[in-house]
C-alpha cells in the first residue's frame, strides 16, 4: 500500500464517521445498505475472485444469519449477541453444506450451491412455525448493544445504528484484508490459478476450499444479521437465488480479483439504483442493460479500469 492510498483510505473513513452530522436519515439508511452489501460481497469474492468458485447460494447463508439474529433479538434484546450468533450460524451452515459442495468445482459447484440456497429458501418460506412462512418475522427490535446485565448502549436511533454497522463492517473488512494477504490467501489464489500444482505441493485443496467457503458463509451471515435491526423484519426473499445474484453482480461490476472491487461495486449499485429510481420505476431494465454492457465491454470491472487506464493518464505529466 502506498502512502497516497493510505491517505485516501483515512480520508474515506473520516468522511464515513462524519457522515451522520451533515446528512439525513435516508442517506444513512442507504449507506448502511451499502455497507451490508459490501460485507456480503466481500465474503463472496473470497470465493469467486480468490478461490475461483462461483457460488449461487450465498443468499441462503445471508438469510440464515438474518433469521438467526432476528430470532435471538425477539428473545434476548442484545445486538451483540444477535450479530455474533447470526455470523456464527451463517458460518456453521456454510461449513456443513460446504463439506458437501467443495468436492466439485466449476458449474457443478455453482449448481450445488444454488440447490442448497434454494433449500434454505423453501424452508424459510414454508416452515411456518419457525420462520413465520411468507409473512416473515416482524417486529424485530433495534436492541441495545451490549450484554444484558453487564452494560448496554442504546441503538434505537438511525445514527447510533449507523455507527454500529460502520464499525462492524470496518473490522470485518480489515480482517478479510489480512486473510487475503496471509499465506492462506496466497494458497487460495494458487488453487484458483492451478489446482494441480497446489495439490502437488502437498496441500489439501478440499480443506482450503472448505475454509474459504466457511469464511464466505460467515461474512454472508454477518451481513445478514445486520439487516433485521435495520428493517425490523425478515422475509423469505432474502434467501431466494435472485438475491444470491446481487453479490455476483456487484463483484463483477467493481472488479473480480481486486480487494476493493466488491465495495466499489456496492456503492455503484446503490447509487445507480437511487438515480434511476428517481426517473423511472423500472430501474431493473437499465441495471440489466448496464450489466450486459459491462460484461461485453469492460470485463475487468471498474476498479481495474481505473487502475489500468485512468491512473497512468494521471501520472503522465
Amino acid at each position: 500500500m502506498t502512502k497516497l492510498k493510505l491517505l485516501l483510505l483515512a480520508a474515506l473513513i473520516v468522511f464515513l464517521i462524519c457522515l451522520p452530522s451533515f446528512t439525513g436519515k435516508y442517506l444513512l439508511y442507504m449507506t448502511i445498505q451499502i455497507l451490508i452489501l459490501s460485507v456480503f460481497a466481500l465474503g463472496f469474492n473470497l470465493l469467486l475472485g480468490y478461490t475461483g468458485l462461483l457460488s449461487f447460494g450465498q443468499a441462503g447463508f445471508f438469510a440464515v444469519g438474518a433469521y438467526a439474529c432476528a430470532k435471538i433479538l425477539l428473545v434476548i434484546p442484545s445486538l451483540l449477541i444477535g450479530t455474533v450468533a447470526g455470523a456464527a450460524m451463517g458460518g456453521i451452515a456454510a461449513l456443513i453444506l460446504g463439506y458437501l459442495c467443495v468436492r466439485h468445482s466449476r458449474i457443478y459447484f455453482s449448481m450445488l450451491t444454488l440447490s442448497f440456497g434454494m433449500m434454505i429458501y423453501s424452508l424459510a418460506w414454508k416452515w411456518r412455525e419457525v420462520t413465520g412462512g411468507d409473512d416473515g418475522l416482524v417486529g424485530i427490535p433495534r436492541a441495545p448493544f451490549g450484554i444484558p446485565g453487564v452494560f448496554s448502549i442504546d441503538m434505537s436511533s438511525m445514527g447510533r445504528y449507523y455507527y454500529f454497522v460502520l464499525i462492524i463492517s470496518l473490522i470485518a473488512i480489515f480482517i478479510l484484508y489480512r486473510i487475503i494477504n496471509s499465506p492462506f490467501g496466497l494458497t487460495l489464489k494458487g488453487i484458483r490459478d492451478s489446482e494441480n500444482r497446489v495439490a502437488f505441493a502437498g496441500i489439501s485443496i478440499r480443506n482450503y476450499r472448505l475454509l474459504s467457503f466457511t469464511i464466505a458463509g460467515l461474512y454472508a451471515g454477518l451481513a445478514g444479521s445486520l439487516l433485521p435491526p435495520l428493517e425490523n423484519t425478515v422475509t423469505p426473499p432474502l434467501a431466494h437465488w435472485t438475491h444470491s445474484a446481487e453479490p455476483v453482480m456487484v463483484t463483477l461490476l467493481g472488479g473480480i480479483h481486486t480487494f476493493s472491487g466488491p465495495i466499489v461495486g456496492s456503492v455503484i449499485f446503490y447509487l445507480l439504483k437511487d438515480i434511476i429510481v428517481r426517473v423511472t420505476q423500472y430501474w431493473l431494465i437499465w441495471f440489466g442493460a448496464i450489466v450486459v454492457f459491462l460484461v461485453l465491454v469492460f470485463r475487468g470491472g471498474i476498479v481495474v479500469f481505473f487502475s489500468d487506464r485512468i491512473m497512468p493518464l494521471l501520472k503522465r505529466p
Binding site: 469467486l48 462461483l54 449461487f56 458437501l100 468436492r103 466439485h104 466449476r106 458449474i107 457443478y108 455453482s110 449448481m111 450445488l112 444454488l114 440447490s115 442448497f116 434454494m118 433449500m119 429458501y121 423453501s122 424452508l123 418460506w125 414454508k126 416452515w127 411456518r128 437465488w241 435472485t242 445474484a245 455476483v248 453482480m249 463483477l252 473480480i256 423500472y282 430501474w283 431493473l284 431494465i285 441495471f287 440489466g288 442493460a289 448496464i290 450489466v291 450486459v292 460484461v295 461485453l296 470485463r299
Partner: protein, 270 residues
C-alpha cells in the same frame, strides 16, 4: 410438460452452445405473454396466436444470440451467467412496463373445456392435450437430432466445435439457428401453458429454477435426461403437495443436490 419444453430449450442451448442460459425462463415468460395478448386480448385463433408468438420469441432469440451471446462463448462461466441474468432483469421489467405487474388468467379455448374419462376417471381434455403435445415434441426432437442432416451437424458441433468447423460447418450460423430453435421450444412451453396457468411477471425466474433442477437431474446437455427429469420433478411436485405440503419445494432441491453429489453428470450422463 411445460417444464419439459423449457428444459429441452435449456438443454439444447447448454449442450450445443455451452452456455447455461438463465434467460431461458424469460423466453418462456415472453411466449406466455405473447400468446396471452394475441389470443386472450386480440381474440385471434388459438393456434394462430401460438404460431405468431413462437415467431416473435424466435426473432428475439435471434437478436440475443447474434448480438450478445455470440461474444461470450469463450469467456469464463461467471460472466456468461451474469450476462444472461442481466437479460432476466431487462425482460422482467419490460414485461411489467408493457403488461403491468398484475397476474392475469387468460380464457380457455372452448374446444378444450370439459373432461374425458381415462381409466374410469374424469381427466381434463387440456391436460391430456398437453401431455400428448409434450410427447410429440420429444419424438420430433429425437427424429430431428438423430435422423436429419441438420441434427447431425448439431451433434457434430456439440461434441467438437473446432473439428466441425474444419469440415465446413458454418458454426456461427448453426449456433444462431439452434438458439432460435431452442427459444421457440421454450416459448411453446410458455404458450401452451397460458390457458391453465396464470401469466405474471415472476414466472420466468420461478420456472427457470425448476428447469435447472430438471436438467441437472437428467444430466446437463442431455435431452433424454431432461425428459425423464421433467417427469420426475412433475411427479415429485404433485405427490409432494399431497403428502407433505410443507417440504414440497425442499424435496425437489434435495433430489437435485443428491444427484449432483452422487453422480454430477446426471442420471443419463456418460
Amino acid at each position: 410438460m411445460y417444464l419439459w419444453l423449457l428444459s429441452a430449450g435449456l438443454t439444447l442451448v447448454f449442450g450445443v452452445l455451452g452456455v447455461l442460459n438463465f434467460a431461458q425462463g424469460s423466453l418462456f415468460m415472453l411466449g406466455a405473454y405473447a400468446t396471452f395478448t394475441l389470443y386472450g386480448k386480440l381474440g385471434l385463433n388459438f393456434w394462430l396466436s401460438i404460431i405468431l408468438s413462437l415467431i416473435c420469441v424466435g426473432v428475439i432469440g435471434a437478436v440475443l444470440e447474434r448480438f450478445f451471446l455470440r461474444r461470450i462463448y469463450d469467456i469464463d462461466l461467471p460472466y456468461q451467467l451474469i450476462l444472461t441474468f442481466g437479460f432476466i432483469l431487462v425482460f422482467d421489467d419490460l414485461v411489467k412496463m408493457v403488461w403491468g405487474g398484475v397476474a392475469m388468467i387468460p380464457p380457455m379455448p372452448r374446444f378444450f373445456e370439459g373432461n374425458i374419462p381415462v381409466f374410469g376417471r374424469p381427466f381434463p381434455i387440456y391436460n391430456l392435450f398437453i401431455s400428448f403435445a409434450g410427447l410429440a415434441v420429444a419424438l420430433v426432437l429425437w427424429l430431428i437430432l438423430e435422423k436429419t442432416w441438420w441434427g447431425r451437424m448439431i451433434r457434430a458441433s456439440a461434441s467438437d466445435r473446432e473439428m466441425a468447423s474444419a469440415i465446413g460447418i458454418n458454426i456461427p450460423m448453426l449456433f444462431t439457428t439452434v438458439f432460435v430453435f431452442a427459444a421457440m421450444l421454450t416459448a411453446l412451453g410458455g404458450a401452451l401453458g397460458t390457458p391453465v396457468r396464470v401469466v405474471a411477471p415472476g414466472i420466468g425466474t420461478a420456472m427457470i429454477i425448476q428447469a435447472f433442477v430438471i436438467t441437472v437431474i437428467g444430466g446437463l446437455g442431455n435431452l433424454k435426461g431432461a425428459f425423464v427429469g421433467a417427469l420426475i420433478v412433475g411427479i415429485l411436485t404433485s405427490y409432494g403437495i399431497l403428502l407433505f405440503p410443507i417440504f414440497e419445494l425442499f424435496i425437489i432441491f434435495v433430489v437435485m443436490a443428491v444427484v449432483l453429489m452422487v453422480k454430477p453428470e446426471g442420471l443419463f450422463g456418460k
